[in-house]
């Protein structure tokens, strides 16, 4: 136990992140399933302005980069590709921790348009944590080739968040994506994402616990999501939050 939580923990990472990009005006996280072209989106948005770093104490690498839009400096963090955020693996844990504690101004969920259903699972889970979510419908060209048509305006309405179709390989739709990121990061766009409704019994327990949580956590973290995790028995997450809070206070 030579290293303390403080020296290896996430806060060091954030300190490093913010010191490296001292001119950072907004931080955006890039989430998505593996093989959705997430890295292509990241590379096309940031070009050569990127840097790969290790999550302290973990072997998962996170790439960071930035781009400028309307004169504002926007930092992108490329999270590891995951199918869910239930923290079964180191990758999922890192992705979840960043969305929870990294205080990103928005999360872009990159999805594969040819298998939307599987990709939506992750998007819905991200939307449970934060309302600042943008859905990037990537690989639209492959979807077209496979005769898959997606009504993305309707999708936007159903999800309550911006949906941007792209072909990152050919740089199609990336300007729209940049504009959407900028609008959300600087508060011009206020999404109201769809909330997943669970069964009545679970909802009742959620409400009860949520009320208790709101007093101490509502400024830091979505209390409905936290209540759900606690009911799921994720004590490790709770301990992480306590630590995070006490480090914030110091």
């Amino acid at each position: 136990m030579g290293l303390t939580h403080k020296s290896t923990g996430i806060n060091t990472f954030f300190a490093e992140l913010y010191s490296e990009f001292s001119s950072t005006e907004a931080v955006i996280a890039l989430a998505g399933n593996p093989n959705t072209g997430k890295s292509t989106v990241f590379n096309s948005l940031t070009g050569l302005n990127q840097h790969t770093g290790n999550w302290p104490g973990k072997t998962v690498t996170l790439a960071k980069g930035f781009f400028k839009h309307k004169g504002d400096h926007i930092t992108l963090v490329d999270l590891p590709g995951t199918y869910s955020l239930l923290a079964n693996s180191v990758e999922e844990q890192v992705a979840r921790d960043f969305i929870c504690f990294g205080e990103p101004d928005a999360v872009v969920v990159v999805t594969d348009a040819t298998c939307l259903e599987r990709n939506l699972n992750l998007a819905l889970q991200v939307m449970e944590i934060t309302s600042q979510v943008i859905l990037c419908l990537n690989l639209m060209d492959e979807a077209k080739r496979k005769n898959i048509q997606i009504n993305y305006e309707k999708l936007q309405r159903l999800l309550g968040i911006p949906v941007i179709p792209t072909v990152a390989r050919n740089k199609e739709g990336l300007d729209d994506l940049k504009a959407a990121i900028h609008a959300m990061a600087f508060g011009e766009e206020k999404p109201s994402p769809k909330i997943i409704y669970y069964d009545d019994q679970l909802e009742k327990a959620l409400d009860e616990l949520k009320k208790e949580l709101e007093a101490s956590f509502s400024t830091v973290i979505n209390s409905r999501w936290l209540a759900l995790r606690l009911l799921d028995g994720d004590i490790a997450l709770m301990k992480k939050i306590f630590k995070y809070l006490s480090e914030l206070h110091n």
Partner: protein, 462 residues
Amino acid sequence: MNIMANHKKLLQKARILRKQLGPNLRDRVVANIYQQAEAITQQVVQQNHLKHNLDTIIDIIVTSKIFGYPLMLLLLSGIFWITITGANYPSELLFTMFSGLEDWLTTLFQGLNAPAWLHGILVLGLFRTLSWVVSVMLPPMAIFFPLFTFFEDLGYLPRVAFNLDKFFKKAGAHGKQVLTMCMGFGCNAAGVIACRIIESPRERLIAILTNNFVPCNGRFPTLFTMAAILMGIVANSSHNLTASFLVAGVVIFGIFITLLVSWGLSKTILQGVPSSFTLELPSYRLPKIGTLLIRSILDRTIFVLLRAVIVAAPAGALTWVFANLRIQDLSLIAYFSRWFDGFGRLIGLDGYIIMAFILGLPANEIVLPILIMSYLSQGAMLELNSISALRELLLHNGWTWLTALNMSLFSLLHFPCATTLLTIQKETKNTKWTLLSALIPTAVGVILCFLVAQIARLLNLV
């Protein structure tokens, strides 16, 4: 301090509510998310079906509740049937070729006036063991591996994992354990390394400790040979089809034991709840036959054979020395075998078999050659050039169907080879787990063989 007290209270509250909600909450939550994702997708996605859906149709069949398991059984037996049937002829050819070569070598040694012990060590020990290892192992491996690689490349294995997932979950283990077991078919050491794909340390340990319950290619030849001999003893002919079902039965029994031991571990020293995971079912892809053959023959068959040869050569020479060094009137092998004989017979085997397994610790491939050599050193010197000759030799040494059956069982259920043990030590960095990984299968094997032997004797079946 007030904050800490508050946190404690919150956790308490969560615990109470969690109890009220009952188990499987994670599944309920995940199922709900999936349902909503499906509902939304149906509303916004329009798709021209047909080609894209061929995969889906195949998946519905191979993962269906009715056809899924019979199909797996059929494929497994089919692979074994092709292997056993196909391996017979080249095996006998190799036997004949090597025994011809041996005669030639003997003539050469005699012509050179070489001392008898040198001829014994090099020709009767080293060369003969090598030739048995090659003729017994090469043909089945050269058929089995390409077939297995074919289904691997086709994308069928993730479907098997999908089908078996619920059993592993019930056993408190991880569904991905199936994939590590598939690696174990090739080599248990590789299977143990493959356990790295399981993230949770608890479930990874379960997978590591039970990987040895799938027979590796070092044990497959023994199983194939035993199945053939068993059929020979019982039906006096080699029914390949029945023999292949027998091997498939042994493999399935191994999977059953895996589940049982996993369950036992997850209820005792490795308690916990299985974690959920996403298993991507990749599209089916017709493998390229050329690369498939090259990869399975070079990377697997030749690699495994070379490893076996490297171990078998010195082991063969050493066994010959043991078989021919005499204390009083007994060879060293017979002398030591006597120690194990009582115990061996108690579990339906004999002292030589137990000793062959112990001497075979470096590699499972050499267990059978050592055993054959020990029997041959008993004086009944016969030319061994086919499976039927081997059967004669074994019968001559008091084998019954029970010996052949228990030999199969013990081959499936005993300590892993030295390589695998070293790998487990490296992966777990813990001597306790390594010892346990040797103790558990051995204990299961001894108990099971004992029961089978006692029941068979009680019912006067032998």
